[in-house]
């Protein structure tokens, strides 16, 4: 009898199933943000040798986007520039990247990865809680079910990137811990 009771109680939970409100996957939205950053960030002169060079989005370490990011930016352009998505095990080739994403799975070496980005003009983007404190430029944060952005202005200046006030107005400004 007790076992029947427990089964009924558990099955009763099934009554909580409701029609699903369509929601987006966290990484679809983050990929859309990366695409948008290209529209709202100005890279220093000389970043692109040619006018047709693509905007490089690089993912360092494990890739949480699957194919979402590539699919999203395929065929899109900002100004005249298309996108190219690369993956690297570390940040030594950061010079090819205008946008550099470091995922949560790299949390243990995020600091080392950021320190190894020597060339200016790289917009570093991450999602760990201390990303901007460690010197990253843009950090994603989840506030309940919404994605928020934190921007480290000093790091942006150090990378000689100009972030449009439109993007800044929507972001939280974070301070760097040297």
């Amino acid at each position: 009898m007790a076992r029947t009771l427990s089964l009924i109680l558990l099955l009763g939970n099934a009554l909580q199933l409701r029609a699903q409100a369509p929601a987006f996957d966290e990484y679809q939205v983050k990929a859309a943000f990366l695409y948008n950053f290209a529209k709202f960030v100005e890279w220093p002169a000389g970043t692109f040798p040619n006018s047709m060079d693509p905007i490089g989005i690089c993912i360092v370490g494990l890739n949480p986007f699957g194919s979402t990011l590539e699919n999203m930016v395929q065929g899109k352009k900002v100004g005249d520039r298309a996108f190219a998505v690369h993956r690297f095990p570390d940040t030594l080739q950061a010079g090819q990247c205008q946008i550099l994403f470091i995922g949560a799975s790299e949390w243990r070496r995020t600091r080392a990865l950021l320190e190894a980005v020597k060339s200016p003009g790289v917009l570093t983007v991450g999602e760990t809680d201390d990303f901007t404190a460690l010197g990253g430029i843009v950090g994603f944060r989840l506030d309940g079910a919404r994605v928020r952005i934190q921007v480290n202005l000093q790091a942006a200046e150090h990378a000689r990137l100009k972030i449009s006030s439109k993007l800044l107005s929507l972001a939280e400004i974070a301070k760097k811990q040297p």
Partner: protein, 682 residues
């Protein structure tokens, strides 16, 4: 919640082909009204403005899977939500949800907790840490769970690692580590009052307050009282297992500079409990008897930890802790002072190497209060333990990581010991990984192993004579050794389902046995009697294999199910030279199979309905039948300030036994119980 409709789409009636997935949605039939939107929004996020993107609600997979993506060990994290919604009022009850962990309640004051077998009141094969401070008691060679009563509201998380390989911490992480981590003081500002009461005379009150200190510090201070009455008389002849805890503590966290963090925390805890003991009564002519015995622990501890991140990416941490306790348990009284100093350095060496290394020094000063039944020789002992470890995580390719490491320890019983380990992790994406590990671990000996002198039993012999069975420690102590091989698979299968599976194969050597020596006749103590001596030896070995699996399934946005399964096949055998008849029983202290399903439902408006249904297999030793257990919790979050809950445990039966008598402690039956709690934050 109304679906957010991207601005700029209002009024459009065009069906827009979207994305590579070839899905077409029609948008904006009529003027969309917030709250009544029935049509799904367009799925091409590149058309969304920045404001739109910030308003979109996302389904997020737990970061746990990603932060664990490169971990080459079987790890389970008990989160704050797990803790809050479990209805548990103590740490062992929380550990029931972890696959691979055996938790059995012996009585209201006493628990048997172990990982992958070898369970008992003084189970000694698991390292238990609270904020990096080991709570393994050197004199009893086990953890006194009744003395570890950290307020659950202050727990950040509990990490449980099964198996020895994934650990860099100190001694005795043989079958695993339970790492209990409290919240940073920054996370507990303001006031907190918790009051609860329930059946079995259970009551609890916590008062806590936290705030800032100057510009860069945060603190919290708490005081707590809790009480639990005896098991009911139907459980046993003389329940004596009431328990009362009075404790107070503080934690301060400082950002000394942007690079330096300092934590100082301390607590004082007075625990009074009791057990029903069946053992030898110290009297002129010793005899066996059953009697109620108080157990207690008056303890205080202080811990300071300093972390420095310096400019070239390396991090140093230094931790010093001091622990003072006076404990009385079924085997005797003990005064203990433990000092511990730990240094760790984490640095990147080259592009592909992530190195952690450390040194530790631990000193136990013990004084055992011996009596005629149980004593230690010497009664006072000071034992230093020196340790060092090094671990290198090597990135072989984008997806393959190899971690090699070793612990080195020097103790005063067996000298120098080495515990190497290796893990290989293949992570083809951030969403799935496969890992392999191999490691060796040892159990550090303690004073009981070497210096115990106890009368463990009294037997009646013909002609009115009695025989005293004595048990002595062995000066030639050996270390129990484990060689362990594991593999696991961890994946975020889709955005609603994640899975973690582990398999292991373990080989144990030099397990402790009790070997008989030649009996002799004596008139010592003023009465003629036989002495049947027994001595600790290390003449057993064991092999165990098994698997643990758990999954998290977000059935809907309001309903989450977490099932878990544990399988353990442990066989403990005596070596050819052993004559210990009890070795065959050791494996029977853990169930071969257990499973659990936890269900969490958000009913809306702050109401929560949580259930745990679990089956624990029978214990071959002590004839403890398997049992099915149902715990329920109904909670109500009233805004940000109030949290009410009613929980029931063991609903299916009025009482059931979970563990046989252990280490002279008579077991009680765990009862059906109810507990209501009010939490007020201000």
């Amino acid at each position: 919640m109304p679906e957010s409709v991207p601005k700029g789409r209002a009024g459009r009636r065009i069906a827009i082909p979207l994305m590579r997935w070839g899905v077409a949605f029609a948008v904006g039939w009529g003027v969309p009204t917030p709250g009544l939107a029935q049509t799904p929004p367009p799925r091409d996020l590149t058309q969304f403005t920045l404001e739109d993107l910030m308003n979109v609600e996302v389904v997020s997979v737990s970061k746990k899977e990603q932060t664990l993506a490169k971990t080459g060990a079987a790890i389970f994290v008990i989160t704050q939500e797990d803790i809050r919604r479990s209805g548990a009022t103590n740490i062992p009850d929380l550990l029931r949800m972890v696959p691979g962990v055996d938790v059995a309640r012996i009585d209201h004051s006493t628990w048997a907790v172990s990982i992958r077998g070898f369970n008992g009141a003084y189970a000694n094969k698991v390292l238990v840490l609270i904020d990096g401070r080991s709570v393994y008691h050197p004199a009893y060679s086990g953890v006194l769970w009744y003395a570890q009563d950290v307020p659950l509201e202050d727990l950040e998380r509990i990490e449980v690692i099964r198996g020895p390989g994934g650990t860099v911490w100190g001694a005795n992480a043989v079958n695993g580590v339970i790492n209990i981590i409290t919240k940073n003081a920054q996370e507990t500002p303001g006031g907190l009052i918790v009051a609860g009461g329930g059946s079995d005379a259970q009551g609890e009150g916590l008062v806590q307050y936290g705030g800032h200190i100057g510009q860069s510090g945060d603190y919290r201070v708490y005081g707590r009282y809790s009480n639990l009455g005896k098991s009911d008389a139907a459980s046993a002849a003389q329940p004596a297992d009431s328990k009362r805890v009075q404790e107070g503590g503080f934690r301060t966290d400082w950002n000394l500079s942007p690079r330096d963090l300092l934590t100082v925390q301390g607590e004082i805890r007075l625990v009074d409990g009791g057990q029903t003991v069946t053992g030898v009564i110290a009297q002129a002519v010793p005899d066996l008897g059953t009697f109620g015995q108080p157990v207690a622990d008056d303890a205080g501890n202080l811990l300071a930890r300093w972390t420095d991140k310096n400019l070239n990416g390396s991090e140093i941490s230094l931790q010093a802790s001091f622990d003072q306790s006076h404990a009385s348990a079924s085997v005797g009284d003990d005064w203990s002072s433990i000092g511990d100093l730990d240094f760790q350095n984490h640095l990147s060496a080259g592009r592909r190497n992530d190195v952690v290394w450390g040194l530790s020094y631990r000193v136990n000063a013990n004084r055992f209060g011996g009596n005629d039944v149980v004593t230690l020789n010497p009664l006072r002992r000071t034992d230093p333990l020196y340790g060092a470890f090094v671990q290198d995580e090597i990135i072989l390719t984008k997806t393959l990581t190899l971690t090699l490491g070793s612990k080195f320890e020097h103790n005063d019983y067996t000298g120098f010991e080495v515990e190497p380990s290796a893990q290989l992790v293949w992570a083809p994406s951030a969403h799935s990984s496969i890992w392999l590990s191999a490691a060796q671990a040892i159990r550090q000996p303690s004073n009981i192993d070497e210096g115990l002198l106890a009368v463990s039993s009294v037997v009646a012999l013909p002609q009115g004579l009695i025989g005293l069975v004595t048990l002595s420690g062995n000066p030639s102590t050996k270390v129990e050794r484990l060689r362990d091989f594991e593999t696991g698979y961890r994946a975020q299968i889709n955005r609603r389902l994640s899975l973690d599976v582990t398999g292991f194969l373990s080989f144990y050597q030099n397990l402790q046995t009790i070997e008989p020596l030649a009996p002799y006749f004596t008139s010592g103590g003023g009465f003629p009697h036989y002495v049947i001596p027994e001595i600790y030896e290390y003449k057993a070995h064991a092999q165990s294999y098994g698997a643990e699996a758990f999954a998290t399934w977000n059935v809907s946005d309001r309903w989450k199910i977490s099932p878990s399964l544990t399988m353990l096949n442990l066989s403990v055998l005596r070596d050819a030279s052993s004559q210990d008849p009890t070795v065959a029983q050791v494996a029977g202290y853990s169930p071969r199979r257990s499973f659990q399903v936890r269900s969490f439902v958000n009913l809306g408006r702050g109401f929560e309905w949580d259930q745990t249904l679990g089956y624990t297999g029978p214990l071959a030793t002590g004839n403890i039948p398997g049992y099915l257990r149902l715990d329920l919790r109904f909670g109500w979050r009233l805004g940000e300030f109030f949290d009410l809950s009613i929980a029931a445990q063991n609903l299916l039966q009025p009482r059931h036994a979970e563990f046989p008598d252990s280490d002279f402690i008579d077991h009680m039956q765990d009862q059906r119980s109810f507990f209501g709690k009010v939490t007020w934050r201000f």
